[in-house]
Symmetry: C2
Subunit: 135 residues, 2 copies
DNA sequence: TATTAATGATACTATAATAGTATTATTAAT
DNA sequence: ATTAATAATACTATTATAGTATCATTAATA
């Protein structure tokens, strides 16, 4: 079972590349693609989504590209996971897509809830900046 | 994003039902279906898999059904997740299905590895028995 | 102002995973 | 022999994932 999806993975690689190579400057998708061996059209859509979600800023036209909308120290893995995979919530009740009559007192749910909180906290602590320094 | 899949969820409900209502005895799929509102054919396949993996024992023929292969105190959520979703490993490298050249020194990987260990440990502690008592 | 080098938007396709159904065979108690 | 259970296998429908293709828009600059 995977935890982070391919989209999240690709996005993270792109962000790490940007932080490492351009800092506050503008980077084109082609530059990322060349270094990171990611599929161009696909990565394009990914960074577009990051821009829409306020993590990157897009600059159209010649000399355009993408730059950070907020500092790499403030972008954590949880932000990226939220963009591509939704909330980290391990407690979804899966009974035929409906909520089971037992939700309120479901012991499993409570356990999973506590685990998701722990994971959430851990993910929050992983920022682009911290990984850049730590590697 | 979900963490446990529908299969795992259904399996867990079935096991809880069995522990609650039959203990060491034999339970038929129909009995579980009636109480838990799960799709019959589907649940059938699920408990069959549990039997193959050594969590339940199947008894064919009249008066047949399924019983526990090991005590409900020794069946933990991690066992069931492993049956239906594979290992809890948050560290899969997703670069085009290949391993990226950076695996060894990948800082993200190390972080995710530590998170999976934590989760793994938590899941190990959740047993059928403990939830039965705790609810 | 025409050219060029970038992103933006949208629609499409292929593959795999998930969820569920249907059918027929086998087994063991009575 | 009958009956009430599981076993095995194959099928289908839906959704998610992964990736591709095309054309529009924008802004620098020669």
């Amino acid at each position: 079972m995977n935890f982070i999806s391919r989209d999240t993975d690709y996005a993270w690689r792109a962000l790490m590349f940007m932080a490492k190579n351009a800092g506050e400057g503008v980077v084109t998708v082609d530059e990322i693609v060349q270094e990171e061996y990611l599929p161009e059209r696909f990565l394009r859509r990914i960074v577009q989504k990051l821009a829409k979600k306020g993590i990157l800023v897009s600059h159209k036209g010649k000399k355009g590209g993408f730059s950070f909308a907020k500092s790499p120290g403030k972008i954590s893995l949880i932000d990226i996971i939220k963009v591509f995979q939704g909330n980290v919530d391990f407690t979804n009740c899966l009974l035929k897509g409906k909520v089971c009559p037992n939700v309120k007192k479901c012991a499993l749910r409570r356990k999973l809830q506590s685990i998701s909180k722990t994971v959430d906290k851990e993910l929050r602590g992983i920022t682009i900046m911290s990984l850049l320094k730590g590697s």
